[in-house]
């Protein structure tokens, strides 16, 4: 048996990719995740790959139940991603995708914070190329913002781990908790990657700017790596429940008013992460199982949704809701796959989202977090509206845009088909997923109450949606907005909501405008002093240099003599 980190296998395997041509490249790239899967499958639990560096013992391959779940799903995600991107010619996208996935998988299996930090930064650096590869000015700008925030997260992690090492003398990556300053810093680092509220902006900023294939990979790894890290380090930290609850709720409002469908998906990604963070925060065995399971199913159905939108973008060149519609006529397969993805994220019974999300909901109810439970329920309804209905509806149905693009390329269809099979398969036979969860599962998703409650919720929402369309009461942008609030809220009317949304928008615009102006002024100042013609950068006359020397001499003389005067 070979004891080698599967993450490193992918990273090293990515290096020869630029030198391979034609079908050989595709075969090689498909073989890598398969080999990594086989490798992981053959590894028993335990620490397998200790090395010493920097005077520390580093654990590069710690296999246990928690890391195994995430390892498996990450490998599945890169496998699907490779199939989906087989038609792409740009080799840097393939290489950075594989390295990115390898780094995420590597990070899942490390047993110490230093190695985690190394992989953490590698995911940031490798993934930025997936955005840059779009080669538009917006993508370039977004990628730089993304890089700064991601590396900033790594720097926080480094700072936190140094502090923690200072405090405890250990760099082990086990339960961390927020007792010490180090723990707080590390939580902040994880929080950035997990897109906590107020730390989340990079996600909606960068993901919609990446290439069609790049976004699929981006959606799978970075944030779920953070969920894994949270589950490992902060399970049962009660503050996380509140953070998670906020995360499930607030993106909904943004998602409904958003026109860019990939951005809608980015918001819904944020909302789904909230469920996982709540699960981690509750911290019971059921909740952690739920978080891990939800991460597992989420990666697959979110990839599927991004893949379907990627296919649309690939064929039509846009994913703006206002410019799409009626595509089902020429892209029937993609439509079906997108609906399957939408059904999964909305947690329809018999689809994968149902079997994992109900675990988190049950855990919340079981621990008597009723408020949390209610918000999660509300969020579930919201997800259904903006991901389950809005995405397929506006892209494939709605008013006919007259666009008749070709069906997605075969490799995209295969990738989406495989993901769909997984979505349905897990929904119908959840026991296979439950078998690999971190703790023993004593949970039945298909009880009468679970199914009934969920079906009621979904059915009722769908009904409302239909009614609204039939009556044509609401402008298209707002249809979904009204649906994802409850009855009372709807009676108060959409005017209030519109008012709030627009007021909030204005405040936000003013705030960011001010920030922007201030930032520009700061940059201008900086440029005035540090730019090529700035006082600090231009070539000085020799006389001025000597003047500085004299000044410094007097300063030193004065300071040294101070003591004896």
């Amino acid at each position: 048996m070979i004891e080698f980190p599967p993450g490193l296998l992918l990273i090293l395997g990515a290096l020869p990719v630029p030198f391979l041509r034609g079908p050989l490249r595709g075969i090689w790239m498909l073989a890598l995740p398969v080999a990594a899967f086989a490798l992981l499958y053959s590894l028993p639990d335990g620490n397998h790959f200790p090395i010493s560096a920097f005077g520390q013992e580093l654990e590069l391959l710690r296999v246990d139940a928690l890391s195994r779940v995430f390892g498996y799903v990450f490998i599945i995600a890169i496998f699907l991603g490779v199939i989906y991107s087989l038609h792409v010619r740009a080799v840097e996208e393939h290489v950075s995708g594989l390295i990115y996935a390898g780094a995420a998988i590597g990070a899942v299996f490390v047993g110490d914070l230093v190695s985690l930090f190394v992989y953490w930064e590698l995911t940031a650096i490798a993934s930025v190329f997936l955005i840059l590869a779009r080669r538009t000015p917006e993508a370039l700008a977004a990628s730089m913002r993304y890089l700064i925030i991601q590396v900033g997260s790594g720097v926080l992690l480094l700072a936190g781990l140094i502090v923690r090492w200072h405090e405890t003398g250990s760099i082990e990556f086990g339960h961390i908790g927020i007792d010490g300053a180090g723990g707080v810093l590390i939580l902040l680092a994880f929080g950035i990657k997990a897109a906590f509220p107020l730390l989340h902006n990079w996600l909606q900023d960068a993901y919609p700017q990446a290439t069609p294939t790049g976004t699929v990979l981006l959606s799978a790894f970075t944030t779920k790596l953070a969920i894994y890290a949270l589950a490992r380090g902060y399970a049962g930290t009660e503050e996380l429940i509140w953070i998670g609850v906020t995360m499930t709720a607030f993106p909904i409002f943004f998602a409904v008013i958003e026109n860019d469908l990939r951005k809608v998906l980015a918001y819904s990604l944020n909302n789904q992460l909230g469920f996982m963070v709540v699960g981690v925060g509750i911290g019971t065995e059921l909740a952690l199982n739920g978080a891990a399971a939800h991460a597992f199913t989420h990666i697959i159905y979110k990839s599927l949704l991004f893949m379907s939108m990627g296919a649309v973008l690939h064929r039509t060149g846009t994913v703006l809701a206002t410019e799409l519609g009626g595509l089902y006529k020429s892209m029937p397969f993609t439509t079906v796959f997108c609906i399957i993805g939408g059904a999964s994220i909305s947690a329809f019974p018999l689809f994968s989202g149902f079997v994992s999300k109900s675990m988190i909901l049950s855990a919340a109810a079981h621990e008597e977090y009723y408020f949390t439970w209610l918000v999660l329920l509300f969020a579930s309804a919201g997800v259904f509206h903006h991901s389950g209905i809005k995405i397929p509806f506006f892209a494939f149905f709605a008013h006919d845009s007259g666009k008749r693009p070709k069906e997605a390329p075969l490799n995209m269809l295969i990738a989406m088909g495989l993901a769909s099979i997984l979505c349905i398969g897990i929904g119908v036979w959840p026991s296979a997923l439950y078998a690999i969860l971190p703790f023993d599962v004593d949970f039945r998703p298909y009880t009468d109450s679970h199914v009934l409650a969920q079906v009621q919720l979904l059915f009722f929402s769908a009904l409302a949606f239909t009614v609204l369309i039939r009556t044509g009461l609401y402008p298209p942008e707002l249809r979904c907005t009204n649906l994802d609030t409850d009855w009372l809220y709807r009676r108060l009317g959409r005017r209030l909501l519109v008012r709030i949304t627009s007021a909030a928008g204005a405040v936000q615009a003013r705030f960011y405008g001010a920030l922007n102006r201030r930032g520009q002024r700061f940059l201008l100042q900086l440029y005035r002093h540090h730019g090529p013609q700035g006082v600090l950068a231009r070539t000085w006359p020799t006389g001025s240099m000597v003047l500085w020397v004299a000044l410094l001499l007097f300063a030193y003389l004065f300071l040294y003599f101070l003591d004896i005067f």
């Binding site: 560096a53 920097f54 005077g55 840097e92 230093v114 930090f117 190394v118 930064e121 840059l132 080669r135 370039l140 730089m144 890089l147 700064i148 590396v151 900033g152 720097v155 480094l158 700072a159 140094i162 502090v163 200072h166 900086l526 440029y527 540090h530 730019g531 090529p532 700035g534 600090l536 950068a537 070539t539 000085w540 020799t542 001025s544 240099m545 000597v546 500085w548 020397v549 410094l552 001499l553 030193y556 003389l557 300071l559 040294y560 003599f561 101070l562 003591d563 004896i564």
Partner: protein, 493 residues
């Protein structure tokens, strides 16, 4: 027998080889002599290192005249560490020098260039190895004069003014140093560093000694280009030939840092100046300002060589920051970074030399799309750039780690934050190059360039590999630096 005279050979080999180059007046022969001389000097430094590790401090009386009357060469862990760095970098650059030099100069000028190179190396090695204060001044002048010539040979006409400014500033610095040494001599009657160290504590609050300290502080700060006395450096590095830039960036400022350590820890250390004067605080402030101001300037530079010249000023700030802690961890970090930065920066300037050789420009706009045309050169620059940022797995991470640790020891959290923030700025300018080189359409100049010749790439890659190697195995860099730091601190107490 030979091992006995290693300290003398260390300096004498390049010193004698220099006029030989000039006499032959043939570029190729001069190059061969330079290769032989630098590699022998490197071998001598390694030999000295092992002797010091086995036997402890070596005291060598030059010409058989016993110190303190005669000149003593005194080799301990501190300077043998620097000797290895300087001669090592010097011997890696020489094989690289051949292609570019042969393409640009006629035979005689080539020979002169190698002669100057060897003289500069002689001077730097001499400054490092000698235990005599006046001898330090002499060698400093030898290396400085040679390097003025080397800078002036740059292809850009601004190289002449750059060399001239460096000459003025270098001379001012050297004069200040000799004034300081003169004052010390007047007060103690000795020029031997070890003797000085013994006598200064008795007269440590007399004004001449304090004046000497001030003159030495400014003089050495000038030589090591500590902010705001760095003004000569950017132009000198930017407009000099690639060989000169790489050599100076890897060695000259590093030797100046050694001089600083030697004077302030070994010679003045016993006098309690670190407690009684605000020297550490001054250095701390100037270092932090250097790290930020120079890095920020670097971000906006359009000339990549000048960008990395400013980055040198910032990195020197990081080294002096480590020194200003007056702690073993801080000194370990500073000496490790001295070692690592010498390798990183010499490597970057060599690779940029390859770009210059192919494209006759290192302007950022001209380097657009060069990542595909010169893949190995750019990959090397990216790796070394990552090391500058302090990415784990590269040597730059190790030094930063130690300097951060030193800040933590003093509970200076804000400094940790500042160091990490400075790394982010470093990331900006390295990122700028990456973006331009890989994600833009090739510029008119870059449209038909080829990869740099192997003779330039291979030496540069020796340093690239060393950067990664010393990021993983720190036994030699940190291990030696740690012992040297302990020795330095022993001088204070």
């Amino acid at each position: 027998m030979l091992a006995q005279h290693l300290p003398a050979l260390q300096v004498v080999i390049p010193l004698l080889a220099a006029p030989l180059c000039a006499l032959f007046r043939r570029g190729f022969i001069g190059w061969l002599i330079a290769v032989a001389a630098t590699w022998l000097a490197f071998a001598a430094a390694i030999g000295l290192l092992f002797r010091v590790l086995n036997e402890g401090v070596i005291s060598y009386a030059m010409g058989g005249w016993a110190p303190p009357i005669g000149i003593e060469y005194r080799v301990d862990l501190i300077n043998v560490f620097v000797l290895v760095v300087v001669s090592g970098v010097g011997s890696v650059i020489i094989p690289f020098a051949r292609t570019g030099t042969a393409a640009r100069f006629n035979d005689t000028d080539q020979a002169w260039f190698y002669a100057m190179y060897l003289l500069a190396l002689t001077g730097l090695l001499g400054v490092t190895i000698t235990g005599d204060a006046f001898n330090i001044f002499v060698f400093l002048e030898i290396s400085s004069l040679a390097s003025y010539v080397m800078i002036a040979m740059g292809r850009d006409r601004r190289a002449l003014t750059a060399a001239y400014q460096y000459l003025i500033m270098g001379t001012v610095g050297a004069t200040f140093i000799v004034i300081g040494i003169g004052l010390l001599w007047a007060m103690t009657g000795t020029l031997n560093l070890a003797d000085l160290a013994q006598r200064i504590p008795e007269i440590n609050d007399t004004r001449p000694v304090l004046a000497a300290l001030a003159f030495l502080t400014v003089g050495i700060s000038l030589k090591l280009a500590l902010f705001p006395l760095h003004l000569w450096l950017p132009n000198a590095y930017a407009y000099a030939p690639a060989v000169t830039s790489a050599f100076l960036a890897g060695t000259a400022t590093k030797v100046a840092i050694y001089l600083f350590l030697r004077f302030f820890y070994t010679v003045f250390g016993g006098g309690g100046f670190f407690e009684s004067t605000p020297l550490p605080e001054m250095f701390l402030v100037l270092s932090v300002v250097a790290m930020f101001a120079a890095s920020t300037v670097a971000v906006f530079q359009d000339d990549v060589k000048r960008m990395f010249a400013y980055s040198s000023v910032a990195q020197i700030g990081l080294i002096t920051l480590g020194i200003s802690y007056v702690s073993e961890t801080g000194l370990t970090g500073a000496m490790t970074h001295l070692f690592n930065h010498a390798i990183i920066k010499a490597g970057i300037f060599m690779l940029l030399g390859g770009v210059m050789f192919r494209m006759a420009s290192v302007k950022l706009e001209d380097m657009a799309g060069i990542g595909r045309k010169m893949p190995f050169t750019m990959a090397g620059i990216v790796i070394l750039g990552l090391a500058l940022i302090g990415t784990p797995g590269t040597s730059g991470f190790i030094s930063k780690w130690w300097i951060v640790l030193a800040a933590l020891e003093k509970d200076q959290w804000w400094l940790v934050a500042l160091i990490l923030l400075a790394s982010l700025i470093t990331m900006l300018y390295v990122g700028r190059i990456v973006e331009v080189a890989y994600f833009r359409e090739p510029s008119a100049k870059a449209a038909d360039v080829r990869e740099a010749p192997l003779a330039m790439l291979i030496p540069a890659y020796v340093l690239v590999i060393a950067t990664i190697y010393f990021g993983l195995d720190t036994q030699w860099s940190v291990g030696l630096a740690q012992r040297a730091a302990a020795d330095l601190l022993a001088g204070i107490y």
